[in-house]
């Protein structure tokens, strides 16, 4: 067990190191090492899953990494259902994307660097998943930030890519500041950073945080906001699409951005604490979960809106990712972590598939990303077309496909708990179908809109094989009972105070065959299921009207102002540029001015002048005349001897 865990965690970094040191000049060997190792980690994960079937979870293996005073940090593995699911997603999707990358990036001269970075990513992501304490999560959290930085800026000679990488890293850092402070608060209130101990402590004494509970939760949430690109810090994710498409699929759709949701699910005990504010701030009544739900809902809606008017295929998908992440975060905010994790898993499959499909199209069209220059691909690229269709339907939430189930749980819960959030969830579902329909109709269906799309050809097996596998996963992920697998993880813990409503009151009542599973949403919350299907149909229908065989975007010509705002992403980038960046720039300018002119110029200048003046004055005593010197010398002796004699 230990060996397997160590293998899963450290094989990828071993691959990165061996690529860096030995095979930097041989891209194909590097690719081979990296792919092999990611597949091995996937196999090891399967073995781990099989092994844990018979054991009681969670299993915790702890080594001390650092211990000073009462601060103790572990290198610890926490294996429970949550981490197993996430591990499965990461290694599974990860190894498929490794394979796909070989086809997508095949001719790039720095392929070795690419695979080394990808391996670092796998290492860090697995680290997050397996971590048993907050600081270890933070460490790997930073490391995924690094690998994301390296991969977004992979084509570093391109200025926009380098800038996007920098932006991503900095946005993440802003979130991480809060995250680290939150970790410090957790440590100082509870004295431990291990998840297991934290939930035990909180179950015995929910008031352990006393008045700091909500602040701690909000600070930890900052990390999530940064990593999962939620509302105030969402600006980096669309720019991150400058990276290679497989990277967008793996890091910026399926796994890394979902790490925020994973963290919310992991530390749910802390987030679920009821509102408690320190004195002076107690007029703020809301709890962490309220904030989480609001941010999630807002992000979901906003991103879906922006996606409606984007033209770059990857950017549409990026905003779609934002929107879906918003769903997941909202689910957590509704104290419903299982649904969030469920949606995370299914979303990982179909969103990765969407990105890989987009990548396939991009390769076939020689790096054309504008959807208005695509079109008519269904005949020319059949595999890509069909798999992309499946993924689109899954994302929209068409019943038998996986996206339907996970999304429906969230919508149902939202409607049940809060009418506003429910409405937002439904509107977002409608918008999702609309923009995905737009994307699909414009880029795949209808006539070819440019020469490149006319000459498009289906890609080789190495690209299509992962597509097919992911398509299968996207179809069936809804039936394999991910939700019921996760249930024991939470029911075993003290979530009584969170008022969790779940489709199944207990695991025994979970539907036991696929048909029951299929109809379960209609049985459990028929209203929600029907409403969301209606929203999907409405969205699909509208997009069909607007975009089937359309020459140009009707919306942007009809609603010019709205369209302009949406196209420019509601001017968030400009806002930040003119506020935060401006402020930082001016502060730096002031400090530099003080240092250069006030400290370096005036103060040192004044001291220099004073010393200089004294020196000028004193040098008059140096007349050059020996007799003067003698006189002064003798005077000195007189004074000294007088002092010595009369003391």
């Amino acid at each position: 067990m230990t060996i397997i865990l160590f293998g899963i965690l450290f094989l990828p970094i071993f691959s990165a190191l061996s690529i860096t040191f030995f095979s930097q000049k041989h891209p194909s060997i590097s690719a081979g090492i990296s792919i092999a190792i990611s597949c091995i980690t996937f196999l090891l994960t399967c073995v781990l899953c099989a092994m844990t079937q018979s054991q009681t979870l969670p299993i915790e293996i702890v080594y001390t990494w650092l211990s000073v005073g009462n601060l103790s940090v572990d290198l610890g593995f926490l294996v429970d259902r949550l981490s197993l699911i996430m591990l499965f997603v990461v290694t599974g999707v990860g190894s498929l994307i490794h394979i796909y990358s070989k086809g997508y990036m095949g001719k790039d001269p720095s392929l070795s660097r690419y695979f080394a970075s990808l391996s670092i990513f796998m290492f860090s992501m697995i680290g997050i998943v397996l971590a048993n304490n907050f600081l270890m999560i933070f460490i790997f959290w930073e490391m995924v930030g690094l690998s994301s930085y390296l991969l977004i800026g992979f084509w570093m000679t391109k200025g926009s890519a380098a800038d996007a990488a920098k932006k991503a890293f900095l946005c993440n850092r802003i979130g991480d500041t809060g995250f680290l402070l939150g970790i410090i608060l957790v440590w100082s209130c509870l004295g431990t950073l291990r998840f297991g101990e934290i939930s035990n402590l909180l179950s015995t004494n929910p008031a352990a945080f006393s008045s700091l509970a909500t602040i701690t939760g909000l600070l930890l949430l900052c990390g999530v906001i940064g990593k999962s690109a939620q509302f105030p810090l969402h600006v980096w994710l669309p720019d991150a699409m400058e990276g290679p498409t497989p990277v967008s699929a793996l890091i910026h759709a399926a796994t890394m951005v979902a790490a925020g949701v994973y963290l919310l699910a992991r530390g749910f005990d802390i987030f679920a604490l009821s509102a408690a504010w320190p004195q002076g701030l107690d007029w703020l009544k809301f709890s962490t979960l309220d904030v989480i739900a609001t941010i999630g809902a807002f992000t979901a809606l906003m991103a879906a809106l922006i996606a409606v008017q984007q033209n770059d295929i990857k950017r549409i998908l990026a905003y779609s990712t934002l929107s879906q992440l918003g769903y997941m975060v909202m689910a957590i905010g509704l104290s419903y972590p299982i649904a969030a994790m469920y949606h995370l898993t299914t979303h990982a499959f179909f969103k990765a598939l969407l990105f890989l499909g987009a990548g396939s199209v991009i390769v076939a069209l020689h790096h054309e990303q504008n959807i208005w220059k695509m079109g008519g691909l269904q005949k020319r690229m059949p595999i890509t077309f069909w798999t992309f269709l499946i993924a689109t339907l899954a994302l929209c939430g068409i019943p038998p496909l996986s996206g339907f189930f996970s999304k429906d749980y969230i919508v149902a819960e939202a409607l049940h708990k809060n009418a506003y959030l429910g409405t937002i969830a439904l509107v977002t579902a409608f918008l999702t179908t609309f923009y995905m329909g737009r994307l699909f109709f414009v880029s795949f269906i209808g006539r070819t809109r440019s020469k490149v799309s006319d000459h498009a050809k289906e890609n080789s097996t190495i690209i299509t094989m992962p597509l097919i596998l992911l398509a299968i996963a996207s179809v069936f992920a809804g039936f394999i009972g991910i939700d019921s697998y996760l249930m024991p993880h939470y029911s075993s813990q003290s979530l009584a105070n969170t008022n969790m409503v779940f489709p199944y009151p207990s695991i025994d009542q979970a539907p036991d065959n696929w048909f029951k599973m299929l109809i379960y949403p209609f049985k459990h919350a028929p209203m929600a299921a029907i409403l969301s299907i209606c929203a999907v149909i409405a969205g699909g229908f509208l997009s069909f009207i607007f975009y089937f065989n359309a020459k140009n975007d009707i919306l942007s010509s009809k609603f010019k102002t709205v369209s302009l705002w949406l196209k420019n992403r509601l001017y968030f980038d400009e806002l930040y540029q003119n506020s935060a960046v401006w402020l930082q720039d001016k502060l730096a300018l002031i400090c530099d001015f003080i240092d250069r002119w006030i400290i370096g110029g005036i103060i040192i200048g004044i001291i220099y002048r004073i010393v200089d003046l004294i020196g000028r004055f004193c040098r008059f005593s140096q007349t050059g005349n020996i007799q003067t010197y003698t006189a002064i010398f003798v005077l000195g002796i007189i004074v000294l001897s007088y002092w010595v004699i009369n003391w």
Partner: protein, 109 residues
Amino acid sequence: MIATIETYLTIGLGHYLTVSVILFCLGLLGIMTRRNILVVYMSLELMLNAANLALIAFSRFNQNLDGQIMVMMVVTVAAAEVAVGLALIVSLARHKLPIWIDNLNKLKY
């Protein structure tokens, strides 16, 4: 009264030291006032000799010869010093450079 006369007749360390100090002060005066570099040198020699007198007197009244050895050293150093110093003065004179103290004031700011 008798004892007072006796003190004048018994020549002790103090007498010699007084002479030595007076000579030393005279030499000092010469160094500080005279402008001819040669006379300054002579005044210097006067001071050295005043010191020599004191050393010899110490040697005598302390009943050991170390002071006299010291005088030997002083004399030797003085000889060397006079030789080098006069050579310098001669050299200055030969290059038609000023030899007056007031003019030898280049060593300043």
